[in-house]
Amino acid sequence: MIRKSLVAAAVLAGIQGCAPVQVDNVAGQATVYEDPTTSGRVQGVGIESQDVVAMTDQMMRDMLANRILAARDVPPRIIIDNEYMRNESSSIINTNLLTDRLRVELNRAANGRLIFVGRHYADMVEKERALKRDGAVDGGTIRKTQATAGADYRLGGRVASLDAMDRNTQTRSRYHQVTFEMVDLELGTIVWSGSYEMRKAAQDNVLYR
């Protein structure tokens, strides 16, 4: 009987296991490609890839449908860069993500109806022109112009946000409003405007509340 009881105790102790050392043996995750137009594995309440794709697609279609911009006999010259794209939101974002995708997709889809001025490459262009004018290199095969292209319109815009927090459930939500506006660079009028809105809410695991 003594032996039985001692064995039972030892077994019980063994089952419970005296192993304070833990090994993190969570399996790794192999790299996978994910569709940037869909929600990824990692999500928050900020601006994510699917938002960038969705908003730039929407703005592109809207701009191409605007007669002032895309139906002129002489294609207008447009600057789209992030020089006048302001981030006033609480989301950290590289606004080049918005303007670069918009410019690239518009340039592809416009098929010559819009001409894009690469003002963000102005320094590069000026250096090459100086080399040509100095005779250090020849004049190239296209043409010579008095000056680089002036633009008719330029994109401006703003990323703004409004945050809210439910203190009872610690659920947070963020509303984003991203506005895009095309400004006439002579007259100062706004010839096209578009905005994209979204609101996301999330609640962290209870351990982090």
Binding site: S5, C18, V45, Q203, L207
Partner: protein, 409 residues
């Protein structure tokens, strides 16, 4: 004889089980792969131990180690490394942990809170955004600097004591400063007005100020596990803090920096956490199981009953053995339940943040920061030369810490 056996068995089991439950869980470090070792070797020597810890401690401490790397790199002026570390930490902090295995385990009775993947308490998360915002400011990216400061402020909104939610005055001031540099006067005005509500005596930037000067003093707030079973998370101010103030001295001016933030105050006014109620539940379970175990073993050990069982023979004796076993098991469960609060904390945080804004230009570079003790006396061994960094738009940023990296406060 049976009684002796029972007592011995119970003693062995309870001692074994209780022995297992003492002290925080130890985690076995991982062995670095060749690629990871190469990454460590490529880093500056003073940062290598931190990168080694990052790989050895894995996901559980990833954010904590990234915080330490980011702060150390920032203090050592390794800004690219600091940026990368804080960006990675922010990805983790901003990601919503709706559910994962580690969090699931940490909720269970048999694992302690420290099992969960570390994301830091609100004050620690806020400070990640503070440093990231300073890096954006330094680069002249004012929009994202403001966004970072605002994100830090939102982390503070998780504080449960309502009067202390979003009271991180330094972040509000810095958001205003970033908005002002960005040419957004109306936003700047809003932020500065909010800042003055929290710090009525806090100075505002003069119209021609173009340089932000920040000084950090003291050491990080500490987290301790208090109470029976170490279930209660409490905060204590950092140890042996000597520096309490900072003064900027240039050829033209001697100006005290405004103590805009008490990081310990931010940590200690967080209030109760939701997870504390889970831990309290575990403590309750532990107490109940312990009481049940004690009651059952004492019943079976009672001499009257033991005598009865001996005289009654087989069936009754077996019944009391069962009671003993349940009692021992209950005591074992009690001993095995893990109630210890998570006391991991960011050790490189300061105790206080001081700041001022001044007009400066690259020509007048060459100021110094002197640090003051609690009586306002100059600490002769705590004088630092200030190097103002100017971004591409002509605005300056200077940061000084009373204790260089690797020196005690």
């Amino acid at each position: 004889m049976c009684s002796i056996a029972k007592l011995m068995a119970a003693g062995v089991a309870v001692m074994a089980l209780a022995g297992c439950a003492t002290g925080p869980t130890q985690y076995q470090p991982r062995t670095l792969s060749v690629a990871q070792q190469e990454v460590v070797d490529q880093k500056p020597p003073s940062l290598r131990p931190l990168y080694r810890a990052l790989f050895e401690e894995g996901r559980r401490n990833e954010v904590l180690n990234l915080m330490e790397i980011g702060a150390a790199a920032f203090h050592l002026q390794e800004y690219d490394l600091a940026r990368a570390a804080f960006d990675q930490a922010i990805v983790n902090i901003e990601s919503v942990y709706a559910d994962n295995d580690a969090a699931h385990r940490a909720r269970s009775l048999w694992y302690e809170e420290g099992e969960k993947e570390f994301k830091g308490e609100p004050y620690e998360r806020s400070m990640v955004f503070y440093y990231r915002g300073l890096l954006f400011l330094r680069e002249g990216d004012y929009g994202n600097a403001r966004a970072a400061f605002m994100s830090g402020l939102l982390q503070d909104a998780f504080a449960e004591e309502e009067q202390h939610a979003t009271d991180f005055a330094s972040l509000i001031f810095l958001a205003g400063w970033a908005a002002r540099l960005d040419g957004n006067g109306s936003l700047a005005k809003q932020h500065f007005a909010e800042y003055r509500r929290l710090r009525p005596n806090g100075p505002l930037p003069d119209d021609d100020d173009n340089t932000l000067v920040i000084a950090e003093t003291g050491s990080a707030p500490r987290k301790l596990a208090d109470g029976v079973g170490h279930y209660q998370l409490v905060y204590r101010r950092g140890r042996e803090i000597q520096t309490q103030g900072a003064r900027l001295e240039t050829a033209a001016v001697s100006q005290s920096l405004f103590p805009i933030e008490d990081v310990f105050f931010q940590a200690s006014t967080r209030g109760g956490r939701t997870v504390d109620r889970i831990i309290e539940g575990k403590v309750q379970f532990k107490k109940s199981a312990e009481a049940t175990g004690d009651a059952l073993t004492s019943v079976s050990d009672s001499s009257v009953l033991a005598g009865l069982s001996t005289s009654a023979g087989g069936a009754v004796a077996a019944g009391f053995h069962t009671i003993t076993a349940i009692g021992v098991a209950a005591q074992g469960l009690s001993a095995r339940s893990r109630t210890r609060a998570d006391t991991r904390y960011w050790r490189r945080l300061p105790d206080q943040i001081h700041l001022t804004t001044v007009r400066s230009d690259p020509v007048s570079n060459g100021s110094r920061m002197v640090f003051l003790d609690a009586d306002g006396a100059l600490m002769v061994d705590r004088v630092a030369t200030i190097a103002v960094h100017y971004d591409g738009k002509g605005n300056g940023f200077a940061f000084v810490r009373s204790t260089p990296e690797g020196v005690s406060p």
